[in-house]
């Protein structure tokens, strides 16, 4: 029976150009589950971003559904929605076209940002709460709402298209005021029009059908239904009206000079206690009772008479419905908290300056900078990224040691390493004073060019300055470090390499030893062997050194191209001008564009876009198929994925060997990934220690290894194996080469708990939905034994009284297996050896790595393997300590699948594993998934370290279905 899908995959068996609207209707109509809700939300916002995108020139040849799927993936990563992420990847796989598999995003760590849009009508200059939505006004006089479902709807236009300076809403009616006394309303038939065309209106309030406006020249205007505009009021405060509110028909006004007064129904001023001096910014709360303000030239925010907190350059204040206050000022941080003395406000790190802001719900804040609207979900806590606020990335470098990761340098000189999964360990951060211009991998660390000099940096230590002064470029060349120092290029230790006519802009080295230097005047010097070639590349930007020459980017907006020097010769005509371009080993290029990030390659008429995302980027770096792009403070990691043969086969092959320097794992046909021997040895030792602490440490160490493999190619391989079906389980086939390296204290690498591999901070993939299982595969050339329709089960045990509970457990197994076609060979567990044949054999006995102890006698593994294999079994379960070696041996003897125990096992807790596994296998479930389910049961017994004990060996090439099960005869 098919289980209902968690998320519909409408492309399965159909076209990937799916009907998104129909899908959204389906999601709304079906059961309201969190993943479905998430998917609907993401699809809507992706639609919004797609509508905002202005990338038709660059991406016009890419189908829209591909771009949409890519956007869904980007958002799922940013918002940390794994189910939607998997769904988007499957959709992208279904397109059959290359795509950029977003792996990580720094935004996922400052993830209080829930959504963003660009205003189509100019810069946002005012914003107000409008029920659950926000309304905003723009410099071009548009008044629009931004709804909770992500839509932007134009509501009104200011007379003469003048700029909106303030907005107010009572939940239904909207009033916008602006330059030259202009006013407009929305959703208000018979509402007010502009009072008089004079000074700018800079403040407005609406309540109970009345409107009150304040002007730049201090005048106050009131409008009431039926009565219209009263004569403008002046004469109380002076200067601009800073804030205005309406409460119970009375308007309260704050002027720039610090005066405060109320204006009653009869248009009489009622003076209030003035503030302590001129005011730069002020805001009334929703009830019009509490006034937050800042005195001119000061940084302290006061609410009524109390000082609440200080904010540098404060110029924005906003109240939430539940009485919290937000302040914005210089820099990119917004402070939010209850306005009480002693409050330490929560700090929100925005990616850009905030021009206007408003609370739209108890936990929702809307901000805008220029035309960019952002909604923040303040209920998401602890996800602020304090690393980069107001400090954009200015350089990105990639390293052989962690191809999916990167080091970034920032405008303030910060250096941050992102590991392959995007994480940024604190020890991998440092600062090189002033802005970073270039980061290049070198040895175990990095070379850094900054405005304050050239540096060498090994994460974990402080950067070491090689030379002071403005440095635009560094490179590793012929084993030496070279850096730019104004107009010269120097060796770090041996003097000058060359001198240019102007300040050196860039230095690049090719693998063959060619060095290319470019100065800011465009002169290009190519040093290849003994030959020095000088050419003028003009406005071209150096992209890369190549053997004997250089590649440059010609930035002619009309005809951008990549040129090869000396020459120049056209290498590739480009369809659009990138901000930055880096070559890939495939001969393609990764480009950072104002409206996206793309991989481009040669096509019949110039360049073609191979894969692209609409996420803008300024900088990009690449290693193999891994890309890291940055735009402002945001950093994102991608893999270039090319669906092809093998897509969706559900299998990932990992070949594991060892040498003196650790384990070498090859994922699929990818590059080898080296695992740290120290971590492996510690894992081995911890996993053999039964204390809870050791088991916990072992799990963590396995996470470190899992991350290394994930960024070393396992991630893309799992995507490939899962293919177009987001719910397809994936099996990792582990091929372990026998090896007993010295660093593992004489143990075999098969003794390591590979079953614990997982991504750090994530649960074991065995238990995910869909699961990712780990199977140890063993080659065996003999044909598999035929699967009987009614398999027989034989249970053997040692006579040790300690194993008496097995007899009781057997009753459980009998009961559970009644629902299958099993035929019991004996009515109870028998002593080993038993001469009966059987398709399934359980052996309960004390074992050690070299053999099995039965009735006080140690039987060598070879002998036991021969005995058991002779029974013709397809599936064997060995319940004995350290029986994994025997398990492997049995598969080499022709058994299809064998479960053994890597270390100690306790018969009192292992029963659920044995019975669950046997039942599922007999029912025809693939053995790896049966093992996953049984392992879960074992873990749920509370047995410490349970997941690191049983191992599953399988004949190479096996589908994993050991018996056909009922109904599949």
């Amino acid at each position: 029976m098919d289980t209902p899908r968690a998320l519909p995959a409408p492309w399965l068996g159909r076209t990937p150009d799916i009907d998104v609207e129909a899908l959204l209707r389906q999601l709304e109509a079906e059961q309201d589950l969190p993943d479905r809700r998430d998917l609907a939300t993401v699809l809507r916002y992706a639609g919004g971003r797609l509508a905002d995108a202005d990338s038709k020139i660059l991406f016009e040849r890419l189908p829209e559904h591909l771009l949409r799927a890519q956007l869904v993936l980007d958002i799922a990563i940013e918002w940390r929605m794994p189910a939607v992420e998997r769904w988007a990847v499957a959709w992208l796989e279904a397109t059959g076209r290359p795509y950029l598999r977003t792996r990580w995003s720094s935004r996922s760590r400052d993830g209080r940002e829930r959504r963003d849009r660009r205003s189509p009508a100019g810069d946002v200059t005012a914003v107000a709460r409008h029920g659950e939505n926000a309304v905003f006004g723009t410099a071009r006089g548009a008044v629009a709402s931004w709804t909770v479902d992500g839509e932007i709807r134009k509501l009104a236009t200011m007379p003469g298209d003048v700029q909106v300076l303030a907005l107010a809403s009572d939940g239904t009616r909207v009033v916008a005021v602006g330059e030259h006394g202009a006013l407009t309303t929305a959703d208000w038939p018979g509402g007010p029009s502009s009072p008089e065309r004079r000074a700018h209106l800079v403040a407005v309030a609406v309540a109970g059908g009345s409107v009150c406006c304040g002007a730049e020249d201090g005048r106050v205007y009131r409008w009431r239904p039926g009565a219209g505009w009263a004569a403008p009021m002046e004469g109380h405060g002076t200067g601009r009206v800073v804030a205005v509110t309406l409460r119970a028909g009375v308007a309260a006004v704050v002027w720039e000079d610090g005066s405060v007064a109320a204006l009653d129904d009869r248009m009489r001023w009622i003076p209030q206690a003035p503030l302590d001096g001129p005011v730069s910014v002020a805001a009334w709360d929703d009830r019009g009772e509490r006034l937050a303000h800042v005195l001119a030239g000061q940084r302290t925010i006061r609410v009524d008479d109390e000082r609440v907190w200080a904010h540098d350059g404060v110029r924005l204040l906003a109240w939430s419905m539940d009485g919290r206050l937000a302040s914005g000022g210089r820099g990119h941080r917004i402070a939010i908290g209850p306005p009480r003395p002693g409050t330490v406000p929560d700090l929100l790190g925005a990616e850009e300056r905030t021009d206007v802001m408003v609370f739209t719900g108890r936990s929702s804040l809307v901000t805008a900078h220029r035309d960019h609207l952002v909604q923040w979900d303040l209920a998401l806590s602890g996800s602020d990224d304090p690393a980069l606020v107001d400090d954009p990335v200015t350089a990105v470098g990639v390293h052989d040691d962690d191809p999916g990761g990167a080091a970034v340098g920032t405008a303030d000189g910060r250096l941050i390493v992102h590991r392959g999964d995007g994480t940024t360990p604190a020890r991998d951060e440092a600062t090189a004073p002033m802005g970073v211009n270039r980061i290049v991998a070198h040895g175990r660390g990095w070379l850094v060019a900054s405005n304050s000099g050239a540096y060498e940096w090994v994460p974990g230590a402080e950067p070491r300055r090689l030379a002071p002064g403005l440095c635009n470029a560094v490179a590793a060349w012929r084993g030496s470090v070279v850096y730019a120092g104004e107009s010269d290029v120097y060796f770090a230790r041996r003097g000058r390499v060359t001198r240019m006519n102007a300040i050196v802009a860039d230095v690049r080295a090719a693998p063959d030893g060619t060095l290319v230097v470019q100065d800011v005047a465009g002169n290009l010097r190519i040093l290849a062997g003994d030959r020095v070639t000088d050419v003028s590349a003009g406005a071209d930007d150096l992209i890369a050194a190549v053997p004997g020459g250089a590649l440059t980017l010609r930035r002619d907006p009309g005809e951008p191209e990549i040129r090869e020097w000396p020459g120049p010769r056209r290498r590739l005509r480009l369809a659009a001008l990138p901000r930055q371009l880096v070559p890939l080993s495939s001969g393609e290029f990764a480009g950072a564009y104002e409206r996206g990030t793309a991989v481009i390659g040669p096509g019949p008429d110039g360049s073609v876009v191979v894969a692209a995302t609409l996420a803008a980027s300024q900088w990009v770096a690449a290693h193999g198929d891994h890309l890291v792009a940055a735009d402002g403070v945001r950093r994102t990691g991608y893999d270039l994925r090319r669906p092809g043969p093998g897509t969706g086969d559900g299998r990932v092959r990992l070949t594991v060997g060892a040498d003196d320097r650790g384990c070498v794992v090859r994922v699929g046909d990818g590059d080898p990934v080296r695992l740290d021997p120290a971590v492996l040895r510690e894992l081995y030792e911890r996993s053999g220690d039964e204390t809870l602490r050791a088991q916990s440490e072992a799990a963590d160490l396995a996470g470190i290894l899992g991350d290394a493999l994930w960024s070393g190619g396992l991630g893309p391989e799992v995507d490939r194996a899962r293919g177009d079906d987001p719910e397809r389980p994936v099996r990792l086939d582990l091929e372990l080469t026998a090896a007993t390296p010295a660093w593992l204290a004489g143990a075999d690498i098969a003794d390591l708990p590979w079953e614990l591999l997982h991504r750090r901070w994530a649960p074991l993939p065995w238990f995910a939905e869909p699961p990712t299982t780990v199977v140890r595969v063993v080659p065996h050339e003999a044909p598999p034994r035929p699967a009987p329709a009614a398999p027989s089960l034989l249970v053997m045990r040692d006579g040790d009284r300690a194993l008496d509970p097995v007899d009781a457990a057997y009753e459980e197994i009998r009961r559970r297996t009644r629902s299958t076609t099993i035929r019991l060979v004996r009515g109870a567990p028998v002593r080993y050896p038993d001469d009966a044949g059987a398709d399934v054999v359980h052996l309960w006995a004390h074992a050690r790595p070299d053999g099995v102890r039965l009735d006080g006698v140690l039987h060598a593994n070879d002998e036991v393997a021969d005995t058991l294999a002779a029974k013709g079994a397809r599936f064997v379960v060995l319940v004995g300590c350290s029986s994994a070696t025997l398990a492997r041996l049995l598969v080499t003897r022709g058994v299809d699948a064998v479960v053994g125990m890597r270390t100690k096992v306790y018969n009192r807790t292992v029963v659920p594993l044995v019975e669950g596994l046997t039942t599922a296998v007999l029912r025809g479930e693939p053995v790896d998934r049966a093992f996953a389910a049984a392992l879960r049961q074992y873990v749920l017994t509370g047995q410490p370290g349970a997941a690191a004990v049983p191992v599953l060996y399988l004949r190479a090439g096996s589908s994993g279905v050991i018996f056909r099960g009922e109904g599949e005869k």
């Binding site: 635009n472 003009g538 009309g558």
Partner: protein, 470 residues
């Protein structure tokens, strides 16, 4: 010799005279624009006329030299003192005069008695404009000072006329000493294109159906009706007095003679703005400026016409220069022109406000800082090398520009505010003004909010203007 010179139209002596209030926005405009140029590593090119008679420049010089002296007095390190002494925030360009003082003497002596309507109209010294005796007395005193026959003390009679004139005399004396420093004073050149050359060009591009003239106006954001009004004013004057008659002196007289209630006044003021910009382009050329910053007269009301007319004049100058540069006919405006806006400080409230004195003190402290100065200097050198390259790279310029702005915010965090494309600097003088200087176009909304706009009429940029349209 100073390599990079900027000429500021806002130093124009006619913009703010001694009769204007101390709150006149032009005073702040000239000063704040000057700071921006200095922070970009440029020196201010001053002609001898403005050196004596621009109130804006004299008040700026007073602050610059005063704060320099303060920082110099507080600096003990010999290297830093040397750097402070070597800095040349201004460079004087004398036109056919051997020294600064001789130029001043000549200007004072060009009185109405001797020259009739061709007199040198004093602006910063307007209280003695018609006072031949006082002018002669001052000229004589300066002559004696130049010959070493008199002390540099402020004459009491001048202070009695107006205490502000005493202060101006002091500033002239300090400037004279400053211009004596090596590299601070040189001869101006004969401009390559005279004022009438630009007027002829206006007529030439407006010939026929005027499409080319309107295209120039449109490409610089000047509404067609405004451009037509300027053209009609020029044509009317040409009909009266020929091309030679369209001169700055004429248009100033024309405006001065117009009744304040005459509805034609504003149109004539626009014509004056247009002609002033052409005139200052000539002055800038004469003063060897590489970066001529031509900004409109600050508006005092909600009208934006002067900004548009200033932009129109820039378009005419550019088009005329392009003609000499063998540029393609269909060259169009590039997106990366460097321009700026002067606005009320309240428009950008997040920008820190300081007094001009605080800003210049910070500038001089930077010049005296052995750690910061080399980096700042290398960054400005890089910017100028990129600008001066035979084929300029826009991306390199943008990157270097962003890096320089970041450097400034690092070095002067309480003085400037910047992002990757825009430098912002605010002063709390005269009610508070903010200048934002940008690499790239100015938006119509921003233009609307500002009280003055300006653009660099830089020769280095002009090369790019010759880029064919695509």
């Amino acid at each position: 010799m100073t390599e990079h010179l900027t000429f500021h139209e806002s130093f124009d002596s006619t913009r703010c005279t001694a009769d204007d209030s101390a709150q006149h926005p032009n005073l702040t405009q000239g000063q704040i624009e000057a700071v921006v140029s200095l922070l970009l590593g440029r020196s201010l090119s001053v002609n001898n006329t403005y050196g004596l008679d621009s109130r804006t420049f004299l008040e700026l010089a007073d602050v610059v030299l005063g704060t320099r002296a303060e920082v110099l007095a507080a600096t003990e390190d010999p290297g830093a003192r040397e750097e402070l002494s070597a800095a040349r925030p201004f460079v004087l360009h004398r036109f056919r005069q051997p020294t600064f003082l001789s130029a001043c003497i000549d200007q004072f002596r060009r009185t109405r008695d001797r020259y009739g309507t061709g007199l040198f109209r004093l602006s910063a010294w307007s209280r003695i404009n018609e006072d031949t005796t006082a002018r002669d007395e001052l000229a004589g005193l300066l002559e004696r000072i130049e010959n070493g026959a008199a002390a540099r003390d402020v004459p009491g009679w001048l202070v009695e006329i107006d205490p502000a004139l005493g202060r101006r005399f002091e500033t002239v004396m300090r400037l004279d000493s400053f211009f004596d420093l090596p590299g601070a004073d040189r001869e101006a050149r004969i401009p390559q294109i005279p004022e009438q050359g630009y007027v002829e060009h206006v007529l030439a591009v407006a010939d026929g159906d005027g499409a080319r003239y309107r295209a120039i106006a449109a490409s610089h954001g000047c509404p067609a009706e405004l451009a037509d009004a300027v053209l009609s004013g020029v044509r009317e004057r040409v009909a009266e007095a020929g091309v030679e008659g369209v001169r700055r002196a004429w248009v100033h007289d024309f405006v001065a003679a117009t009744d304040p209630d005459d509805p034609a006044l504003f149109a004539r003021q626009q014509l004056q703005e247009f002609q002033d910009t052409l005139y200052n382009a000539v002055m800038a050329d004469s003063a060897y400026a590489q970066f001529d910053y031509m900004s409109s007269t600050p508006r005092t009301d909600g009208r934006d016409e002067l900004k548009h007319v200033n932009a129109l004049a820039l378009g005419i100058v550019r088009d005329r220069l392009r003609r000499d540069g063998d540029a393609a006919e269909d060259a169009e405006r590039v997106a990366d022109r460097m321009g700026g806006l002067l606005s009320a400080a309240s428009v950008l409230p997040h920008v820190p406000r300081n007094s001009l004195a605080t800003v210049f003190r910070a500038y001089w402290e930077l010049q005296a800082d052995e750690d910061r100065l080399p980096v700042w200097r290398a960054s400005t050198r890089q910017l100028h090398q990129i600008l001066g390259a035979p084929a300029r790279s826009d991306s390199r310029l943008r990157t270097a520009w962003a890096a320089h702005l970041r450097l400034l915010t690092d070095m002067l965090p309480d003085i400037v505010d910047a992002d990757d494309i825009e430098l912002r600097l605010a002063t709390d003088d005269a009610g508070g003004y903010v200048q934002n200087q940008r690499l790239g176009p100015l938006g119509p909304d921003e233009l609307d909010r500002s009280i003055s706009s300006g653009e660099h009429l830089a020769k280095d940029f002009l090369r790019d203007l010759a880029r064919p349209a695509r």
